[in-house]
């Protein structure tokens, strides 16, 4: 990767280390991780359970702090930000998609999608316009008044994808977005996520167990002993 790539990167990790104290022993999860993700790029993290995929996403998402190293994302040096500034970063710059959807149960589908547009202070008319357009794109325009717990898993995940994009963030983080869905549904959700992010030039960092992403991702990285290793194809 050249210096020019680095400057253009939306996510840039250098010498990132993270470990946990457990029973008096330090367990290193990430060790000296370097990574650059460019705008519009889809990077998949593939690795067995417990390898540290979620840990890495949480660090980039500003929900967790590293032991050492630097995280520059959407032009911000996350290590230097305080809690309030991190909250603002999460609100304005990042969209999240999780394995368990994490929709707000007391808000309708439309309200869930609109929520972040509201949080960043867009005018109400625009909130609704964007939310409805995204719902149409994920094929749920006729379900906007439904409660999340009335939707199927695949539908909930489509709502979550719409919600993650409504405020036009630079970064989308997806932690096993298909992990709770059957194979077929998972594949379609994956395609949808890929299509929407690419169309908007978002950089998408994705953690997954499943190898289906191989065909879609621009780059696939594995985590082995705390380090990122490129993977070309699953054996």
């Amino acid at each position: 990767m050249t210096a020019g790539d680095e400057a253009a990167a939306v996510i840039s990790l250098r010498g990132l280390c993270k470990s946990y104290e457990e029973g008096g022993r330090r367990r290193t999860i990430l060790e000296e991780v370097d990574l650059d993700v460019a705008p519009g790029e889809l990077v998949a993290l593939l690795g067995r359970s417990g390898s540290g995929k979620s840990t890495l996403l949480n660090l980039v998402g500003g929900m967790d702090r590293p032991d050492r190293g630097s995280i520059v994302a959407a032009g911000r040096d996350l290590v230097r930000l305080d809690e309030a500034a991190l909250a603002t970063y999460r609100r304005e710059r990042v969209g999240f998609v999780f394995q368990f959807f994490n929709l707000i149960p007391t808000l309708t589908v439309l309200e869930n999608v609109r929520l972040k547009a509201e949080l960043v202070g867009l005018p109400v008319a625009e909130q609704n316009e964007r939310a409805r357009a995204l719902l149409a794109e994920v094929g749920l325009e006729d379900r906007e008044g439904a409660w999340p717990d009335r939707l199927s898993g695949g539908e909930q995940q489509r709502v979550a994808i719409a919600a993650a994009l409504v405020h036009d963030p630079e970064i989308v983080l997806a932690d096993e977005p298909t992990g709770n869905l059957d194979l077929d549904t998972g594949r379609r959700v994956m395609e949808l996520l890929d299509r929407l992010c690419r169309a908007r030039g978002k950089c998408l960092l994705l953690a997954t167990h499943s190898a289906e992403v191989m065909g879609v991702a621009d780059r696939v990285l594995g985590i082995e002993h705390g380090r990122l290793v490129p993977r070309e194809a699953e054996p």
Partner: protein, 379 residues
């Protein structure tokens, strides 16, 4: 950030639990307000300034107002004493002389003296008609309101059957609970004709500081007669009549405060449970950029909303009970009305809000401090 919506929706989502908590809180507030309103009523009853200038003369060793019979002519002799301003003979007729929630008190007096000595003022009706008609009666507005009595109707109890010709307001709250009739009417009304005897004399003294001396003079005057007297300042009489009530009320207030504790525990349970089951939801809120104080706000806001709703319901219940339950606590012919003041409404609301604040403070603090990563891990 649409707090109102989130709070309402969440209360509604757990409607059974919300309703149970709200109901418990409402009961606690209602009980608290009712006990306190009786206490306020009692303070009002004992706080009238007229009571300090008035002596009440009873038959010595009477068992109950009904058993006190004094010769009416005592009035003239008392009024000749030094320091006495005026004397009002009163014939009392009660439905019950022990403590009761449903007391009816008739007082028969010579009309002219009564109007001079008591500070009453008609709010409706016709005073001239009262003076004219021997079976006419004026009803205190507290009693009238509780019983729904209006001018023009007849009020009947036992052998007494009077025409209500006026409703009056009085300077003393206890006087608004009685029915005033002509003296002679009440003397004749009982099963035995009691013409010439009265139950008590209300003696107005010139100088409140000399009330004690006048009382002694009165009792000395009749010490050797057939019907000896027992004279006490009206305030002392009110105090002794309400002594048991005050004792019970002291206990009742402890009870009322225990209600606050129960409400606190109830709120605490609801809030803690709510926070526990919303752990992941709070994680999701934090992830999308809600700050710690927003989460605390959600928890506190919900508790305060419940408190306001519970207090409103409870105060509504108390109002219904006091205004339409038609009860007042009566002892020995003295009736103490429940007095629900705006101040008391404030106290009830404050009690609920304080409970909510205390119950939700720690859970809110803990919810605000959740570890986002950990919260997202929980399923």
């Amino acid at each position: 950030m649409r707090y109102g919506l989130l709070l309402r929706r969440n209360l509604f989502r757990r409607r059974l639990r919300s309703l149970l908590t709200l109901g418990g809180l409402a009961c606690a507030v209602a009980l608290f307000a009712t006990v306190e309103s009786l206490n306020d009523g009692l303070e009002k009853a004992l706080g009238g300034d007229q009571a300090r200038r008035t002596l009440v003369v009873y038959r010595k060793n009477r068992y109950c107002p009904q058993t006190s019979h004094l010769p009416e002519y005592y009035a003239r002799e008392i009024s000749r004493l030094d320091g006495v301003s005026s004397v009002l003979p009163v014939k009392l007729f009660l439905n019950n002389c022990r403590t009761s929630l449903d007391m009816i008190t008739f007082q028969g007096t010579p009309v002219e003296t009564m109007l001079k000595q008591r500070r009453i003022e008609l709010v409706s009706g016709d005073l001239a008609r009262f003076e004219r008609e021997p079976d006419a009666a004026l009803v205190g507005r507290g009693f009238a309101a509780r019983r729904g009595i209006t001018v023009g109707e007849n009020f009947r109890f036992s052998n007494v059957n009077v025409k209500v010709v006026g409703i009056f307001r009085a300077a003393e709250s206890t006087e608004e609970e009685i029915i005033l009739t002509h003296l002679e009417y009440l003397q004749r009304a009982g099963p035995v004709n009691r013409l010439g005897t009265v139950t008590q004399f209300d003696v107005l003294v010139d100088d409140p500081d000399r009330a004690g001396a006048v009382a002694t003079a009165i009792d000395e005057l009749f010490a050797d007669s057939e019907e000896p007297t027992d004279t006490r300042p009206k305030i002392a009489f009110l105090e002794s009549a309400t002594r048991d009530l005050r004792e019970i009320l002291r206990f009742g207030r402890i009870f009322g405060l225990s209600c606050a504790l129960v409400a606190l525990a109830l709120m605490g349970g609801t809030v803690v449970m709510g926070v526990q089951e919303r752990y992941r939801e709070f994680g999701a809120f934090r992830t999308i950029g809600y700050k710690a104080r927003h989460i605390a706000g959600l928890v506190l806001g919900e508790a305060f909303l419940l408190a306001v709703l519970g207090a409103a319901t409870g105060l509504g219940l108390a109002t219904l009970l006091v205004a339409f339950g038609g009860i007042a606590v009566g002892v020995e012919g003295v009736q103490v009305a429940f007095s629900l003041t705006p101040m008391l409404f404030g106290k009830g609301l404050a009690m609920a809000l304080i409970c909510a604040g205390l119950a939700a403070a720690v859970p809110a603090w803990r919810a605000a401090r959740i570890d986002v990563v950990q919260a997202l891990r929980t399923i």
